[in-house]
Symmetry: C2
Amino acid sequence: MDTKSMIIDTATTLFQQKGYIGVGLNEILKTCNISKGSLYHHFPNGKEELLIACLKSMSESITTDIEDIFKRYQTTQEATLAMIEKLIENYNREGSISGYTFTSIVSELATLSAPVRNACSYLYIKMQGIYSNKLVEDGLSKETADSIALMMTAAFEGGIMLCLTQKSSHPLKVISQLLPKLMKGFQ
Amino acid sequence: MDTKSMIIDTATTLFQQKGYIGVGLNEILKTCNISKGSLYHHFPNGKEELLIACLKSMSESITTDIEDIFKRYQTTQEATLAMIEKLIENYNREGSISGYTFTSIVSELATLSAPVRNACSYLYIKMQGIYSNKLVEDGLSKETADSIALMMTAAFEGGIMLCLTQKSSHPLKVISQLLPKLMKGFQ
DNA sequence: GTCTATAATACGATAGAC
DNA sequence: GTCTATCGTATTATAGAC
């Protein structure tokens, strides 16, 4: 694998663990076993350019992951339950939820840096689109599907935050039980 | 007002705007027009001790604010709509949502610092309690009320995140339209 | 393309005078 | 209780050799 990709992969993991401001360039360089000159050769605009590359890489893996799940199951309800179950399994195994959200990485920057905010917005809209399309397949109108998909995106994001602060997967479990009832109300 | 309270108030505003790691001690000192020695006299353990004091102060103002709203309206549905409307008005006026959430302040620390995580957890549980009590008053069972209250807390938290990244109050509006339907499904 | 050396600055924290 | 001066140590970024 080329150096640039290796830097992105390593930095992504570190950013997920400690957040953007929580990880210094030196830590990234040490983990990658490269020098400062090499990093600035690949990312002339420094740390923020590297972050954007990491967010883009994460966006792709998260959305293809969710898309796969939503293709594998017939209804939104089944797919949603499977997705949350995967999140909970991930939480039980690793003790934290690192994928499926940017919040813990960039929330402190989201209000300051426009490129970062755009990367967040892009991911949320992409996720929402996957949910909405499936709900339309289920027979809901485009408008209703969009609303529920937005609610799902918000509930997941908030649910992950609750799990992280309470050190428990219980919030996501409760949400997975309630979301189907919300969908049924429209069918 | 005494110096200590003034420091807490000023630091709270700065943390809300730029996040914990985004605000340096020097910026706080300059805004307060005090010296380093004064700050460390009131907060011997430095920046993190100051943050905890700010979170505690915010917790109190947020929960009394929500409690007031929930006392003023008869049903959870009305109170919820009023609360979200207030959030949206606040967003339209100031262009951002600074109250009602810690996420944008401490999410990068929530996984690292136990005292910070506890402060977050405390606020979420307090909010959830307010919602749950009102839902029990509405006639729901304790168990159902707890579940819906958790869902509300998560949806608000996620909804705020969506509003901030998309620079729009639309997500919270949609959530305020959907939450009543979720409650009705149980009545 | 990668390295070393270095710059310039900001950080949190401490010591001691008043 | 507040001040000034200072200490280490981080930070991001750059220059120039190879």
